[in-house]
Symmetry: C2
Amino acid sequence: MASQKRQMRLGAFIMATGHHIAAWRHPDAQADAGLNIDHYRDLVQTAERGKFDLVFVADSPAGWERAKDPEALRRTAQGAHFEPVTLWAALSQVTSRIGFVATASTTYEDPYLLARKFASLDYISKGRAAWNVVTTGADVSKNFSIPGHPAHADRYARAEEFVDLVKGLWDSYEDDAFIRDKESGVYLDPDKVHQLDHKGQFFSVSGPLNVGRPVQGYPVIVQAGASEAGRELAARTAEMIFTANQTLEDAQEFYSDVKGRLARYGRSPDELLISPGIFPVLGGTEAEAKANYDYIQSLVHPSVAWNILSRHYKGVDLSAYSLDDPAPPLPDSTELNKSRLKLVTDLVSRNNMTLREFYLAVATARGHRTVVGTPEQVADAMQKWFDNGAADAFNIMPPILPTGLTDFVDQVVPILRKRGLFREEYEGATLRENLGLRRPPNGLALKAQQGEAARAAG
Amino acid sequence: MASQKRQMRLGAFIMATGHHIAAWRHPDAQADAGLNIDHYRDLVQTAERGKFDLVFVADSPAGWERAKDPEALRRTAQGAHFEPVTLWAALSQVTSRIGFVATASTTYEDPYLLARKFASLDYISKGRAAWNVVTTGADVSKNFSIPGHPAHADRYARAEEFVDLVKGLWDSYEDDAFIRDKESGVYLDPDKVHQLDHKGQFFSVSGPLNVGRPVQGYPVIVQAGASEAGRELAARTAEMIFTANQTLEDAQEFYSDVKGRLARYGRSPDELLISPGIFPVLGGTEAEAKANYDYIQSLVHPSVAWNILSRHYKGVDLSAYSLDDPAPPLPDSTELNKSRLKLVTDLVSRNNMTLREFYLAVATARGHRTVVGTPEQVADAMQKWFDNGAADAFNIMPPILPTGLTDFVDQVVPILRKRGLFREEYEGATLRENLGLRRPPNGLALKAQQGEAARAAG
Ligand SMILES: Cc1cc2nc3c(=O)[nH]c(=O)nc-3n(C[C@H](O)[C@H](O)[C@H](O)COP(=O)(O)O)c2cc1C
Ligand SMILES: Cc1cc2nc3c(=O)[nH]c(=O)nc-3n(C[C@H](O)[C@H](O)[C@H](O)COP(=O)(O)O)c2cc1C
């Protein structure tokens, strides 16, 4: 077989009406998208038609943020979304190859129930499940009968234990534990069932899980943290990392930093795929793309604009400013997480922005890379990062849905394909196979064998 | 329109390989059923072809019971099942009318996450979700980092608060809270979004939920408790109750007792449907049915039989007994729940059983009513209870799957239909509409209106 070029992976990062903050107002948008299952079905089938590796939804277990200005509150699209695991379970039945990344929080969910629902999703989808492990940056403790939001370090300490524990539960059954021989009446081999008996700082969970070992061994582990603790968690446990970078240099720094951490955990660099987000605004010509971009931006109502600004300028009095004044320096304290804040501060200082330019930059893709241009230009922008140590994959973040995804599939994917960068057909049946990730061995089985060997030797 | 006879409701209570303990060994059974999505898809489509109101799966958030006898352990079918909500979310996409009852525990789940996943399921299925509220009789605390299993009374106290809280979260948005007017840019009406701010004995949860009000207002509430506390919870909050009764008299007692409790909560008797289980063993003739029954029973391996007996005779030494000795009286202490224990004790004393007869009785349907006969005889048995104040609905518990369900749909349903007892076509689009249950009003909206009115008057 001819050796093949290194292949790019593609994910569709789906956000109800689209990633732009005013997407829902666009004539092409499905305004009730967040709870419209037919809309999501069409999107996922479009992504599968484009041979995308995966679809992804972000999540937080909380409702809305109550903007102080009632005008801004009325005008903010929020409050109504599917729960990710139920959504993907449903859509696995109307697709056959695409993978499903569901976000779930290690800070607010329970490990036994989480292990179970993802194992169940992996069986239901025949090996196409992935878990985006997040620690939940926003304080949503008021919905969970606990006194407050755990600190960043505690959230990550809990996440480290949580991920190991969940993997241990997924190892409860060896692949051949179930014999199911009708003739003899033997259903399973008890020696191939393992009780985890986990006792840690945060959890005591014995197992076994009441689901067999997932089709993929473990659902693919995705992570999206960017802090020191987040990078370490990813380096030790994740197989794909979602990231937000604006410039090639930042993306390269992130890429080589994270890849450089893997050896310490006995892992090789290709065991963790790095996937920055990209917000593509397409047009037949560059001018058309620019016009499309300006049109979306014009849909941001001024009250929503000021609300965005006041969230970034907590504690700063902006009443004397107009939108065309230069943006003052951002305060240190902000409700944004630290790594996202850095992206935003860099953006402002790099570009000498006015307040209008600033809110428009944030409104598009919340710090992710924005590319406005023709399909060729978007493909060029992707290839540049892919070829220069900044990306293994991309999270495509369509500004408006469904059209932003359809256009990408019909216009950009063929170009990537012509360049030999992206598949013509799915390589495998499971998400792991398509991503080129190996099926992990059963940790509890290995431990049991080692115990056995030690006893035999001793 | 001609007035119609009172209509019977039908549910398919689906247990992986079938309800008989040795079902998986039967040639017709799908031995790997518990994690075989295609098997479940076929079952649900068969039930929908039969115009069943609903499908139902039981659940407990734990793995297996480790039988002491290794022979029994190897021979017990357990350990590998789908999680109910993911399962039903998936199968809602390949059906259009049948309802989905998923079991979830108020003792071991979190109310915000539970409210969310059921609301999501209700949207995904377009109004066909139901929640079987259970308190979980078995001690599964070892999987949940808590010191022990809460006592019966505490479990029910928590369940009462849990159900109200979940309904409150489902009321977060009024039906017309989302305006989504692209032209004006107004997305929602903040006056129609309600924050629950629940503070109770067990939970503090503020809300709002991040899902709109479910299509059905609330998913249908099902309950399956039989104790005093269980009946009260059902009378106050449930719309369907699953029950296990052996005799017409017991079923009538249960039926009139539970219906009699409704008035106290300002509810009418038709707001709670009573659905006993029935385990139908069919045959072309009575003799054939009897032979089919004997054949299934012959599949119970002796080690499994003794394991069943030892679970019921905890602390009793049975080593001097043979299977053909009369069953000694059952001990008081048993791991079975109290109401199920009474069913079993009654069974033994009523029938003067041998140990063999006893385990065979338990092996079939765990205390549920067993009917062995022709399709006419099964239809007669159902009609008798339906016409005599013992049932509004039935939970059909096929001994072997898929054949037990297919046979019921093809052989018994047409007879019920000919008698005018069961629908030819679905009446509505949602589960509520098909069950003849009203869509509940929004409790938080009512409260807000009352507050408004009081302020206007005061
Ligand atoms: C593409 C992308 C998707 C993310 N999705 C989520 C999400 O769904 N839920 C969430 O709580 N955080 C999400 N995050 C935030 C990260 O989990 C993380 O909190 C953030 O990047 C800050 O990193 P740190 O917590 O390590 O400081 C996402 C981040 C990125 C880059
Ligand atoms: C048809 C039926 C289905 C049941 N399904 C479940 C179940 O899925 N999970 C569970 O924990 N209990 C289940 N139960 C048990 C009841 O929830 C309840 O615990 C039991 O009937 C004893 O009642 P009590 O708890 O009120 O004493 C079921 C009972 C019946 C009759």
